[in-house]
């Protein structure tokens, strides 16, 4: 009984946290001679390139022996909720990794430090990836440093393809579907086998179908955002998506690609292919959680478009590193970012982490590596989310996830689900914040 009272109070209390801090938090003590900087990185770094982080800290400490570096790993699901609360509470980190779809809101709210004048002091700032640089730029000012980018491609089992009689990798969506059906025929009797493992709430791979058919999530018309997922092109894309995933995937329709990690499901053996980031390949081979024996049997190719010979546009995801305006150790924070993004670390990040480094000057690293080239190729055709200040709220409200789930579970028709999502997007993007 007491337990449940506490639950009730917690909600009321949680809702008033912000107001409470409004009342008590305004006088923040000025901590001079701070000897600690707090870094928030996403857990991808922890599981895939923790050696790069360690090397960065070591090199940083060599120059600042009196400074303690506290790297705290966050998850994509709730890091913004935590960040907002931390900003309000005055204990935000000194450096935060933000997804390139998440930056606009914080730039628009002027919560990230403007680093336009220091730009030249960051490594490779002349050759930063255009897409990432754009996600750090708001009204001509620079607010963050590109970190890395990722593109998705089909990661598949060469041995299964061969055994099912698929001679070459598919060159069109129709061929991709046919190949999948062959796999299902060969292996489908195994419970839980998926020719294409594709969870119902997998937004980033799903929206590629929309963009492949010429659809868009939202457009800006006369200063007003308009959700366009119910346009004929987008509907066509979503219909093709359902027709592809339906017969080929037995993945959870109400789950997403990260719970469980799709690369690890792939490692268990009952998956013919999945659409994943470059770093998910080595993750599937992880000694502890994955299956190293799969190494010689794995391959990757860009997801083919419905137009033969073309690639389906891939979402150009990525991350940036920003310094919140509340940081009291900005120059140390900049220096840590400089160390983390210098050539040595970027080279490591690209080869160990299998991601696209933040600079075009290192592009050759990928072209020569068979494990990286498919992803770099896929990145040549890409799409990006609408760059509205409120976009991240569409993500936070899980609008697209809910739409996809409704479509895949058959709870509503493609049209109805797309219309609903589109209306929600229109409302959210035009909200005054």
């Amino acid at each position: 009984m007491r337990r449940r009272y506490i639950g009730a109070l917690a909600l009321v209390a949680a809702l008033t946290v912000s107001a409470m801090t409004a009342a008590v938090g305004s006088s923040s003590p000025d901590r001079q001679n701070a000897t600690k900087i707090v870094i928030w990185l996403q857990n991808d770094a922890e599981s895939n390139w923790s050696s790069v982080v360690a090397a960065t800290n070591q090199s940083f400490k060599a120059r600042h022996s009196d400074v303690e570096v506290d790297v705290q790993y966050q998850t994509w699901g709730d890091h913004l909720t935590k960040f907002d609360a931390a900003l309000a509470g005055g204990n935000a980190p000194d450096v935060i990794e933000l997804g390139n779809t998440e930056t606009t809101r914080y730039m628009a709210a002027r919560l990230l430090q403007d680093i336009t004048t220091q730009r030249g002091s960051f490594p490779n700032s002349r050759t930063w990836l255009g897409a990432l640089k754009d996600s750090c730029t708001y009204r001509g000012r620079l607010y963050c440093v590109p970190y890395y980018a990722g593109a998705r491609a089909v990661i598949y089992r060469k041995d299964q393809y061969k055994a099912a009689g698929i001679r070459s990798t598919p060159k069109s969506l129709a061929q991709f579907r046919a190949a999948g059906l062959k796999l299902m025929k060969k292996y489908g009797k195994q419970r839980n086998y998926s020719a294409l493992y594709f969870p119902g709430r997998y937004v980033w791979a799903s929206m590629s179908f929309v963009y492949d058919y010429g659809g868009k999530i939202a457009v800006l018309r006369n200063g007003r955002w308009q959700g366009t997922l119910n346009s004929p092109q987008a509907i066509q894309g979503l219909t093709a998506l359902k027709a592809t995933v339906g017969p080929l995937s037995r993945a959870n329709k109400t789950g997403d690609e990260a719970n469980p990690q799709q690369a690890l499901v792939f490692a268990k053996g009952r998956v013919g292919s999945f659409i994943g980031n470059g770093w998910e390949w080595p993750y599937a081979l992880d000694k502890k959680d994955g299956n190293p024996a799969l190494a010689p049997k794995m391959g990757a190719y860009p997801m083919p478009s419905h137009i033969k010979g073309k690639f389906m546009p891939t979402f150009l995801g990525g991350s940036d590193l920003a310094v919140p305006i509340t940081s009291r150790n900005k120059s140390l924070a900049y220096d840590w970012i400089r160390t983390f993004t210098n050539n040595t670390q970027m080279r490591q990040l690209a080869t160990v982490g299998k991601v696209i480094p933040n600079t075009t000057s290192l592009a050759s690293l990928h072209a020569r590596n068979p494990q990286l080239a498919p992803f770099a190729n896929a990145a040549k055709a890409s799409w990006f989310i609408p760059t509205a200040p409120n976009w991240v709220q569409v993500e936070n409200a899980r609008v697209l996830q809910n739409m996809l789930q409704s479509i895949f579970t058959g709870r509503s028709s493609v049209q109805a689900a797309a219309k609903r999502a589109s209306d929600q997007i229109t409302t959210i993007l035009n909200r005054r914040t």
Partner: protein, 329 residues
């Protein structure tokens, strides 16, 4: 001080305590002077008032104030929001989704409270009929359920209904009740809510059962015996003898259950992995999503204020009943 004649129901201890208190009061009245007499009760209640005011009153005041403000991310950092009067509430009234959520919350509460009370009563009656050994086993089981933290319970239920490896799908299939392999219980909100309801009711039954059992055991055996001799069956005895005697307990339990089930949040939030679909939104979830996911703190606060208002009505019934018990004894 043994249980009195039929008219004096239940709680002999309470009656005795009240009598003693009355005697004490009278004695005090004779011996003390007017001013002290007037202030003493206030001095005694002051600590509780201060504590309640600090931990409940002040946050509630802030919540109410927040609900009249435009409060988004920018205001969060500036730590002040402009006053916009009733705008958040006007938006709420015109928000179709809000009414869907309110209706869903009411239905959810009704079903959960109903099931909790019916099952809780049945198990409490069972307890009165059991021998000592079995009663001990059942009571221990109930206490264990009660002691299980929500997070643990949710994880256990999640595994049981897992679409791929869950024991529920396996069992149903083995029993030849149909092909339940890979059945996703959360794909349809109706079956999804069935799971959530099972979880909530399961967790709520122990308190209801144990309290009712305590009430039932206070019903004088002579009354039940007399009714049976007069030819009443078990149902008649329950309806006309047991129930009227423990009615106050029922009223309290029902209003407490309403208060609890109306604000269910943890179970839904956790079982849907921190991103419940709109079909699963109850008022608490809606308020949280608006405030903390969408950064609409003012609007989220307005939803919470409406929730608190509805809850006050339920609490009112509860408190009135408590006072009435105090008066009649």
């Amino acid at each position: 001080m043994s249980s009195g004649p039929g008219g004096e129901t239940g709680f002999p201890a309470l009656t005795a305590a009240a009598a003693e208190a009355a005697v004490a009061r009278r004695r005090r009245r004779v011996s003390r002077q007017g001013v002290t007499r007037g202030l003493a009760p206030y001095a005694l209640i002051a600590p509780s008032v201060v504590v309640i005011g600090a931990v409940l009153g002040y946050p509630l005041y802030l919540l109410g104030r927040l609900s009249f403000q435009q409060f988004g991310l920018a205001e969060l950092i500036l730590q002040q929001g402009p006053w916009i009067g009733l705008d958040n509430y006007t938006r709420l009234v015109h928000d179709r989704q809000f009414w869907e959520v309110v209706l869903r919350t009411f239905v959810f509460t009704f079903v959960n409270v109903g099931l909790t009370m019916v099952l809780g009563t049945l198990i409490a009656l069972l307890l009165t009929k059991l021998g000592t050994a079995m009663r001990l086993v059942l009571t221990t089981g109930l206490i264990l359920v009660w002691a299980t933290p929500v997070v643990v319970a949710v994880n256990i239920f999640r595994w049981m209904v897992d679409f791929e490896f869950g024991v529920l799908n396996w069992t149903l299939t083995e029993l030849h009740l149909g092909d339940f392999l890979n059945k996703d219980w959360f794909a349809d909100p109706l079956t999804g809510f069935a799971v959530i309801t099972a979880l909530v009711v399961w967790g709520a039954i122990p308190f209801v059962t144990i309290t009712l059992y305590a009430g039932f055991s206070q019903v004088p055996d002579e009354l039940v015996e007399a009714a049976s001799i007069d030819g009443a069956n078990a149902w008649r005895v329950f309806r006309d003898v047991t129930f009227p005697l423990v009615k106050p307990i029922f009223v309290i339990l029902i209003s407490l259950s309403i208060i609890w089930d109306f604000q269910v949040f943890n179970q839904i939030w956790l079982i849907r992995d921190g991103e419940p679909e709109e079909d699963y939104w109850l008022m608490s979830v809606y308020s949280f999503v608006e405030a903390f996911r969408l950064g609409e703190y003012g609007f989220g606060a307005a939803i919470a204020v409406v929730m608190v208002g509805i809850m006050f009505v339920a609490t009112f019934v509860y408190i009135r009943q408590m006072i009435r018990i105090g008066e009649t004894r």
